[in-house]
Each structure stands twice: as C-alpha cells, then as structure tokens.
C-alpha cells in the first residue's frame, strides 16, 4: 500500500509534475507528506487492524450465507422471476440464507463505523498532544492539515472497500464458478464507489466532531450516536411523523400522494437511506423505480425485464448526488469550524 501512495505523489510521471517537483528540489509538497504520514499512521494503528478484522469477518460470513442460499436455491427471488436468474453473480452480494445478513446489508451497517473510527480523534488528539501548534508553525497552509486528514482517510477507505469488494468477487468466483458479465462487474464497481463516498461522509462527520470537541471520547460518542440515530431511529421517527400527519382515508388521491412524497423526502435526508436505495438498485437490476406510487398503466405496461446498467445508474443518480452533497456539506462544516479556531498549544 505504501507503493500505492508513492505512485500518487507528485514526484511521479507527468511532465508538469516533474517540473514542479524539480522546482522544489524534488521534495514532495507538505500536503502529500502529511497524507503519507497519516496513511501510514492509520495502517499501523491497532484500531485499523481490529476494524479490518471485524469487516472481513462480516464479509466472509455474509459470503458464506449467500453462497449457501444460492446453492440451495431457497431464496424467494430466485424462484419468482426468470429475469433475475441472469444476475447470479450480483445476487451473491444481496442474497442470504437467513442465518446472516447479506454483504450489502453488512456493508451499509458497518461501513460508517470505518469512517467514524478513522476520523474521530484526528484533530483533537493532535491538539491535546501539542503537535498541532508545532505542525502549523511549519510553512504549510492551515487547510492543508485538514485536507490531508480527509484525503488520507478517504484513500484508505477506498483501498479497504475495493479490496473487500474484489475479495468477495474473487471468492465467489472461486466457489460458484460462475463468471460475472462486464455489466455485473461495472455494477459492483460503481456500488463500491458509492460506498466509498458514503464512508467518506461519515469520515467527514467524525472530522467535524473531532474539530468541535476537545475530548476524543466525546467526539467518538457523538459519531456513534449519529450513526445509530440514522440507522435505527430515523426510520422510526419518519414513520411516526408519517402516521401522525397522514391524510384521512377519504382524502383525494393527490393529497395522499403529496403526503407520501413528503415522507419520502424526509426519509431521503438520511444518508443511510440514500445509500441503501442507491446500492440496492444497482445490485438488483429488477428494481425499476424508487417511487412507491406507480399507476396501474405503468405497472402493467412495463416490460418485465431488468434495467440496463445505464438506466439503473440514471435511476440512482439523484441519490448519488445527494450523498456527495451531504459529504461536501459536512466537510465544509468541519473546514469552517477548523479555520475559525485559534491555534494554541493544548488549549
């Protein structure tokens, strides 16, 4: 992995980069020095090893569950439509025999934890240990510090998520002996990419907490609280609100639809919900719409066939944009909070 980072350094191959590097006596810019150090720190830390062990175990377990489900042919969707039979490889990521949740469910559940664990103590620990003021008295831009933290974290997340995804693909290939079509492959790659962005969102949130709270424990706890809130309670709250504000049974159709649209909008504020929609649509090509209301004409006249990759991507594009937007927003919040803080040693 160190080589992977080294290749990203501007001392690399492009002529422009080479000229820039020559100007600075072949030394990488402080930003990349920091990214490299952060990346190394993450990889060497026990926390990362433990986290990786949990995620790998979860993925291995879910893979086992899905493969045994596929072998027994006991899942419901396998028997229902013939369209889905073509996407055997993708079903490896979603199916389950009931003993353990599928890969996708595990990922959507555990991925935020990676982001939180990588970020929750990144700024406040440096501050408490007195390294922040020493670092910022070096000739580097103040925002480079935060950017480096984010980029190093995101790089690591990308490496972890993609290696996990490819690991599952490889293992599946090995066990079921059924190769993926190019379309299936790209679906998985895009799903992994969305997962990286989603974990990046949680990384940013935990960065924000680590800027805001001086104690690492407080920051970790707030991150975990938010994670549990979106994963467990948010759906409950939305349905509670939905029930309370539901129009009467006798209400006109457009009133009911408008209410339902509002509820969808509120649900979709949650990044967890957005991610679930986006990832599962990509993994289940049979999903034709994310709208709970379709007219009878739409339902009957639709061709009973899976969507093409491009169409699936088009369907989840708003979700993807929303996740990116939320990620950007939380980074902006962390950035502003950090830039407004005064740098003093240990205070």
């Amino acid at each position: 992995m160190a080589n992977f980072i080294k290749r990203l350094l501007p001392a690399g191959d492009g002529p422009r980069e080479r000229a820039a590097a020559a100007r600075a006596d072949l030394a990488p810019s402080p930003f990349w020095v920091m990214v490299r150090k952060e990346f190394g720190d993450h990889i060497r830390s026990w926390r990362f090893v433990i986290l990786l062990a949990i995620v790998v175990l979860a993925c291995a377990g879910s893979l086992y569950a899905s493969i045994s489900a596929l072998k027994n042919g006991q899942s419901a969707s396998a028997s229902s439509g013939e369209g889905s039979a073509g996407f055997l490889f993708l079903r490896m990521f979603t199916e389950s025999d009931g003993s353990l949740p599928g890969f996708l469910t595990f990922l959507s559940f555990l991925a935020p934890l990676i982001g939180i664990a990588l970020g929750f103590d990144s700024v406040n620990t440096e501050r408490n240990k007195g390294t922040l003021s020493r670092l910022l008295s070096q000739p580097l831009y103040r925002d480079d510090f935060l950017n480096a933290k984010f980029v190093a974290g995101l790089l690591l997340i990308a490496v972890v998520i993609f290696s996990l995804g490819f690991l599952v693909m490889g293992m599946g290939l090995f066990t079921i002996g059924y190769p993926p079509t190019p379309e299936e492959f790209w679906r998985v790659v895009v799903m992994l990419l969305i997962t990286v962005v989603y974990v990046g969102l949680w990384l940013n949130l935990s960065l924000l907490f680590s800027v805001r709270f001086r104690q690492a424990a407080t920051s970790a706890l707030s991150g975990i609280a938010l994670w549990i809130f979106f994963l467990v309670f948010y759906g409950m709250i939305v349905s509670l609100v939905g029930n309370a504000t539901a129009p009467a049974d006798t209400a006109a159709a457009d009133v009911v639809i408008r209410h339902q649209n509002w509820m969808m909008l509120i649900s979709r504020l949650s990044p967890a919900y957005l991610f679930q929609e986006a990832a599962s649509t990509l993994m289940l090509p049979d999903t034709r719409t994310l709208n709970p209301f379709i007219t009878q004409d739409q339902a009957y006249l639709a061709i009973n066939a899976p969507l093409s990759f491009g169409q699936s991507l088009l369907l989840v594009w708003p979700q993807v944009v929303a996740i990116v937007a939320e990620t950007t927003l939380s980074f902006a919040a962390a950035y502003v909070a950090f830039m407004r803080q005064e740098i003093r040693s240990r205070s």
């Binding site: 070096q138 000739p139 005064e342």
Partner: protein
C-alpha cells in the same frame, strides 16, 4: 532599526472586551537573544502567535524578516522556528522520524532530512535516543528534541515559548547553554519567553518586561535597573550582630544613604545562626560598602557579613509586579 528582524508596531489583540496585547511596539535586532519576561497570562504567547501569523491581530502590524506576518504567514514560518510552550511529538514515532517529518514539511528532500536530523540529534545530545519512541522520552529530552525540531529547517529566527518549563535545574542549565551556543554558532536571532527571571538573566542580551498586555520596559539589565531604581542604584546587605536603633539612626544619617531596612530572614538561613543577628539592607546613590562597614564596626556591633547587591531581574520583576496591577496573578 534598519537591521530589526522582528518589528512590532502598535500590535493589539482583543478577545471581546479583554485586551490580551495592547499597542505593542518592539524591535529585535539580528543576532541578539531577547527575553520576553512576564507573568502567566501577560500576553506573551499571544504576541508570539501573532508574529507567526497563527493569530490575527485586531490592529497593528507584525513584521518578521521584513515580511508581514499576518498577510504572508507561510513565508514567515519558512524562516522562523517556533517551539510552543508545551511541545508535543508523535509519541509512537521515534525522535528521528519526528524530526524528519518536520524537515520534509519544509520541503527538505528525504536523504537530506535524515542527514540533518541525525546531526542535530547529536548536537542536542540525543544521538543515542534517535531511534527511541518519543513517548518514552523524559521531559528534558523532549525539550531538547524540540530545539532540534526548531533548528532543522535552518531558520533565521528562533522563537522559544517557555523553553525551560518543567525541567530540573541541571536540565535548565544545559538547555540554556545549548541555546546560547547554538545562537552564537549559527548567528540566530532568538526570542525567548519566560517567567523565570534567573534563566532569562543568564543568557539574554536584552529583556522586555511584559505585564497585562503591555511592554512596560525593555533594554539590557543595567538599563532596566537604572530605570527602576532611579538614582539609588546601589545596595548593600549587611549581617549585623547586636543591631539596635542607634546604629540604624547612624546609618541613616550617613551621606549618600537613601534607605535602611531590616530584611526578613529566609527560613533556610535562619537556621544555625546566632541570636540577635539581623540582615539589613542599605541603599545609596553610590558604592558605600566601605563606609558602612567602618561605621558598623565603629559603633561596637559585630559585622558578620557584607554583600554588595546588583539589582537582578528578580528585584526588577518584583518591583514592577508588586507595585503595579496584578493581572493574571492569583492571590
């Protein structure tokens, strides 16, 4: 003032209603060791942060090496080494790694960074501990590593915020000798903040007294003593056996004597001393030690000791802080 490396003009920093630094004017010449002296909370660190562009002044200007520190902090930080008062290192990395990291942040190529780090570690006496994790360093070792950390970028100016805080006396002596030596060898300008008078006294060419965000006096030791004491710049301490009021009257009546006071004995020195011996402090406008001795002995009292006093920073410091307001001091 042409060769001023650090120049502050009417520098002010306010936090809400509280003024941390107020209308500060200061110029520090190239190659000198300047001591910034003041009690806790006097605004020393805030001033230093403004010099580095890490804090924005409310008004006024800080110029370092001819560069505006507020507008162009990167250039300033390239030339200035700053050691914070409670310096921290990455504890799971070795001292060498920490130094190399700082060097590389200053765009020093890796091989050169390693060479510089090793030679500096040797210089500050940490050659054997280079590979040790900094978490296992003692306080004194950390400060010395801090000094190496400041020097690795080969700065023109070094700013040390409370460099001697929390080190034992022997460690302080070594560290100060090291600072002095490095400053002379490399021709560095050193700005040193401290509330330890004796240490500042030992190595600084000039001293600035800083109280309540204001620089109330600056100059070398002689100038400061003169400033405070005015005309009565000489003092003598006498240990006298058989002290009485008549003798006190005689001394007061002497020419050029301005004040006679009985000094409270220290707890330590009281021990093992014969009864009836008191320490008297006499101040005068000139060196009057010989006359004093003669008149004490002539009056029949025993003269057990006589010490001419130079006004140290201690006196000056004390004089300022007891007389003036006590911002930042707890009672």
């Amino acid at each position: 003032m042409d060769d001023a490396v650090i120049e502050l003009s009417r520098l002010t920093k306010r936090y809400g209603a509280f003024t941390a630094v107020s209308e500060l004017d200061l110029a520090i010449r190239r190659g000198e060791i300047f001591g910034l002296l003041g009690p806790n909370g006097a605004g020393k660190t805030t001033t230093i942060l403004m010099m580095l562009g890490l804090a924005e002044p409310t008004s006024g200007k800080a110029t370092v090496c001819g560069i505006d520190a507020t507008r162009n902090p990167i250039e300033v930080k390239r030339r200035v080494g700053y050691m914070p008062d409670d310096i921290g290192f990455y504890e799971d990395r070795s001292g060498l790694d920490n130094l190399m990291y700082t060097a590389m942040l200053n765009r020093v190529p890796e091989a050169e960074a390693k060479r510089r780090a090793l030679s500096l570690l040797e210089k500050v006496g940490l050659g054997d501990a280079a590979g040790k994790k900094t978490g296992a360093y003692s306080r004194g070792m950390r400060q010395r590593l801090g000094l190496a950390d400041v020097l690795i970028k080969q700065p023109e100016v070094v700013i040390l915020d409370e460099p001697t805080l929390g080190i034992d006396p022997e460690g302080v002596r070594e560290l100060l000798a090291l600072i002095r030596q490095l400053s002379k060898e490399e021709g560095l300008t050193v700005l040193l903040s401290s509330h330890h008078l004796h240490q500042v006294q030992q190595i600084c060419d000039r001293v600035g007294l800083f109280v309540g965000g204001k620089l109330i006096a600056s100059g070398d030791l002689a100038a400061l003593s003169q400033l405070i004491e005015g005309e009565s710049a000489f003092a003598v301490e006498l240990d006298v056996g058989g002290w009485n009021d008549t003798l006190a009257g005689t001394l007061r009546g002497m020419e050029r004597v301005t004040a006679v006071s009985v000094k409270e004995a220290d707890a330590l020195s009281v021990h093992g001393r014969p009864d009836g011996v008191v320490t008297v402090r006499v101040t005068g406008t000139d060196d009057i030690a010989a006359e004093l001795a003669a008149s004490v002995v002539g009056s029949g009292a025993e003269l057990l000791g006589l010490r001419p006093l130079r006004y140290g920073l201690d006196e000056i410091y004390h004089r300022y802080f007891e007389g003036g307001d006590s911002i930042g001091q707890l009672h």
